[in-house]
């Protein structure tokens, strides 16, 4: 099976998060970057499929400046066979512009499966996968939490609010990966060494025009400081009184 996984390099905002002086982006000074969470899941799903389907090859693709090679390298050290950088000075916020660049690359690749993350942790848009599928005219199942591939077709589970759907689809297909399927493996030393010799092809990204742009980025409104009502079960009546009379949520 030929499997492609578009992966995005995103800031790791766990430790540090400040808005840049331009008021519309994250201050990158001192930030660490990593593969977007769900893209890590998607790479893991691809690798597991490749391990159980002889003759498979996993290709990872990232749109962005040269720094994305670091993220591609991480996927290669996890076990992907090759990487493609679609070179772009900036990573546009407009998912449709990114989808156009990915579709242009993917349409010649003859892939059986293209696995996206459900959404990128930075943009939180969740649009690039389904848009790319449309541009390629491929069947698509989004936000899947289980997957079985059987020859030329597959079955996936999709969580809805309060229910789930089991859907069937033919290959080739585009899937976007949600929580529940797989946690990404950590690259081992052997993988890291092997990745150094794996190829990364570099091409210009054929980005579409950006029709959605960020005008402003702000921190969410601060929560008013809360308080400790008390210790142990004896504090419960006071808590209930506050919920009733002050917060008015009962």
């Amino acid at each position: 099976m030929r499997i492609a996984v578009p992966i995005k390099r995103v800031p790791d905002t766990e430790t540090r998060f400040t808005i840049a002086a331009d008021g519309k982006s994250v201050d990158s000074a001192g930030l660490k970057y990593d593969m977007s969470d769900f893209d890590g899941y998607a790479v893991e799903v691809a690798l597991r499929l490749a391990e159980t389907h002889e003759g498979s090859e996993v290709t990872v693709i990232s749109v962005g400046p040269d720094a994305v090679q670091e993220t591609i390298r991480k996927a290669l050290s996890m076990g992907a066979a090759r990487g493609i950088q679609l070179k772009a000075a900036d990573v546009l916020f407009d998912g449709f512009a990114i989808a156009q660049a990915l579709a242009a690359e993917l349409k010649e690749g003859n892939y059986d499966l293209i696995l996206f993350g459900r959404n990128a942790t930075d943009s939180a848009n969740g649009v690039v996968g389904t848009m790319t599928a449309e541009l390629l005219g491929l069947p698509c199942v989004s936000a899947i939490s289980e997957l079985h591939i059987d020859g030329t077709s597959g079955t996936a589970r999709r969580e809805l609010e309060g229910a789930a759907e089991i859907v069937e689809f033919p290959l080739p297909a585009v899937l976007t990966i949600d929580e529940g399927i797989a946690r990404p493996r950590l690259p081992g030393l052997k993988g890291i060494m092997a990745a150094k010799k794996k190829p990364i092809e570099v091409r210009e990204a054929a980005l579409g025009r950006a029709n959605v742009v960020i005008e402003k980025m702000a921190l969410p409104p601060e929560r008013a400081a809360g308080r400790i009502v008390g210790e142990g079960a004896d504090a419960v009546p006071e808590l209930v009184r506050l919920l009733q009379n002050e917060a008015k949520v009962l």
């Binding site: 942790t121 389904t130 848009m131 980025m217």
Partner: protein, 328 residues
Amino acid sequence: MADMLAFAEARGGELRKVALETVTAARQAADATGGGAVAALLIGAPGIGAHAAELGAVGADRVLVVEHQALANCLPEVFAATAAKLIGDGGFRAAFFSASAEGRDLAPRVAAKLKVSMAADVTSFAFDGDAMTATHPVYIGKAIVTERLTGAPAVVSLRPGAIDVTESPKGGTVEAMAPAMDPASARVRVKETVEQKGAALDLGEAPVIVSGGRGLRAAENFKLVEDLAAAFGNAAVGATRAVTDDGWRPATDQIGQTGRMVNPDLYVAVGISGAVQHLAGMRTSRVIVAINKDKDAPIFKIADYGIVGDLFEVVPRLTEEIRRAKGR
């Protein structure tokens, strides 16, 4: 004057609350841009059109009803093709979907078919000449962007719960339509729909969420959380990833960065430390209560009310007091 379209989501023959939210948003958009007409698109099995009046009540002038035996479940290819055709032909200024599981899937497909960009998971919006501006939480809710979307139609998905449903009685006149694609030719098919057991209230819609973390120590102790949720009467049960990873609760209960984003009136965190990835999913809750034995747990930093103590003593007492307060 600009006409607006709202996708009215239904499941199991019933409208979902988000359907009223998208129609309300479309009504507000039409009124703010000179009072154009609002069309709601309602797709489902025969009989679904009976809900048109509910959509009229919140501002739909027209309800475009597509009924087909094979469309009881969402077939994304058919739904997206039908929506794209109607939106493209109808000269709409904007099309509103919900950023629900179904809407998140459909809206980008429709935008790509129409060759336009879209604004996803929007919490508020305004029209500004040829552009639309919208707010949208990014970086797992650590920041909010104001984005500017140009091009028409503007395809938008609205964060569930972000729009307050408002009455605005309009005609709700039914116009029957045919699907733009034969459902029999859909490549992706729904084989089975699994209802979650015990999920009477969905996390996205419950006014109260009682959530449990590793502090509960074992799956069977979730009974404490369930009993508290039952005492509230309008509560759903959530969990941290530590808990869903251990299989104490289904993965669908997970709240946070890689789980559900929730926004209830009241969120009760029981034995939850408050990792950033968990906070990402619940920090916008109106009131947060935390019960944790560690007074330095990060959850207390964002909780409005906290009790420091052993959950095995505090929670049963709380259940009792809530029952009493609710007169049960």
